[in-house]
Point group: C2
Chain length 282, copies 2
């Protein structure tokens, strides 16, 4: 990692020197936003959607990004040319800046990191995920803030229950996983995902479109009980695209194997992404 470069404000610097002063409001007050996109074969995937959401998150937190979408993409390209990583995750972060009193917002700091990312994640689709539910509602859910306090804190809770990730709910109403959106497939093959209290993932949006070509789709409240009894369930994320959820709270979902609808949607999304990449990524 240490030979990779990081974009900090206006400069490309080696990761081992990419730092922020401790007066930054991210360190002082956990105040910042970010977005995360993927490159496959040197091609940024859905950059428009990610950069628009980045700018939306910045506005929501009253942080001046100081760059247009096109200028942000220019910064990303500079970093990509320097690092020469074909398959990668690119994270853009905007923080509250070096606040003199540790409280008032000031000129933000802007950071872009790039890290190697394998895709597709070999075997993950067939293996699927086991989730465990937990009562929590993220603050400012429609803004991609750096607040992952609960997500990091819950790691041992997840491991102790032999689960791969946590699924947040509030009073039995499901919202999302910390880094992915959640879908169920009903017995009538309707593809359903929560609408409120969530971050609207880029892949979530693409999946709703892809699924809509073949299946009825709905954005509406989903209860834990519905999820436990769903025919299929899956999560969507930029890193993982579509992964079947085969267990929830120790219960097997459907027949415990990746379902037909999930597989159809995963392939449809895969074809959509393939079409964006200059060379097929297999």
């Amino acid at each position: 990692m240490s030979d990779l470069f990081v974009f900090v404000n206006h400069d490309l610097v080696p990761a081992s020197e990419a730092s922020l002063l401790v007066s930054d409001l991210a360190i002082q007050r956990g105040y910042g936003i970010f977005d995360f996109l993927k490159t496959i074969d040197h091609t940024p995937i859905f950059p428009d959607e990610h950069l628009e959401r980045f700018l939306h998150s910045a506005r929501q937190l009253r942080l001046d990004a100081g760059r247009t979408k096109e200028e942000l993409l220019g910064c990303i390209r500079l970093l990509m040319e320097k690092n020469k990583l074909p398959h990668s995750g690119i994270k853009l972060t905007l923080t509250g800046g070096y606040s003199p009193d540790g409280y008032a917002l000031i000129k933000p700091n802007f950071v872009i990191t790039q890290s190697p990312l394998q895709f597709p994640l070999t075997g993950l689709f067939e293996k699927g995920l086991r989730l465990v539910s937990y009562p929590h509602q993220r603050q400012m859910p429609d803004t991609k803030t750096i607040d992952y306090l609960m997500a990091i804190w819950l790691q041992p809770y997840i491991r102790e229950r032999n689960a791969d990730d946590v699924l947040y709910h509030q009073g039995g109403l499901i919202s999302e996983c910390p880094r992915s959106n959640f879908f169920i497939v009903t017995n009538e093959d309707e593809v359903v995902t929560p609408f409120e209290g969530i971050l609207k993932g880029v892949i979530r949006g693409k999946v709703l479109k892809v699924a809509g070509r073949q299946f009825k789709t709905a954005e509406r409240p989903v209860t834990l009980e519905e999820a436990w009894n769903a025919k299929e369930a899956f999560i969507t994320s930029t890193t993982k695209h579509v992964v079947p959820v085969l267990g929830l709270d120790g219960r097997i979902i459907g027949d415990g194997a990746p379902g037909k609808v999930t597989r159809w949607i995963s392939e449809g999304l895969g074809n959509l992404v393939k079409g964006l990449v200059q060379r097929p990524y297999v």
Copy 2:
């Protein structure tokens, strides 16, 4: 500020060089804890209580502080000797560390900053504070995390309502201000403060003891309605000690001037603190 020194892990470095790599989980995921204490005339005020709470917060977030209370105090003294600031605020921060995957906890980073702090804050007691209520419950309220996302975000909301700070409530039940605890004095001169969903402030604890010498005290739920109609109200904090709350949500509390009970408690606390300082601080 730039000539002041900062303690970072094991070293004293100038503030202009006191930095953390961007891979730190405070920047990546808002994951960290802190505590804040005051020095008056080169004397740390209530260091035991603050350092015990710092270690408690660290344990709650599964961060290994790597130092005993006595060793932490040793680090503070090193910094104090270097900076030679008699009256100051000292902030200790422990972050999630340089996580290779930006998610898993790792060896924490430890930072101590010192900044000049005037005390007492001239005229603040007589001027008092105006608060505006807002529905919010901090996550992990009994842990002093760096999560001040809502507090920073609400600054314009507070200013637009001509208030000095926000008072969090949930369904009309008051918890706390972002950086202070909240008390009311009832018509029967009972001194009451919320007990649940709050950070138990060091000064809050001292005030309950001081007030108990003269008045009935209670830690119990307090509604907004009670606060609007209270005889007196005040906040407590390490920086401000005791400050009358003279308005809440645009309503005048009591007769709109600092009340007798608040003044008695403020003086009692002042005497307690004076007793800790080698030379009287006036």
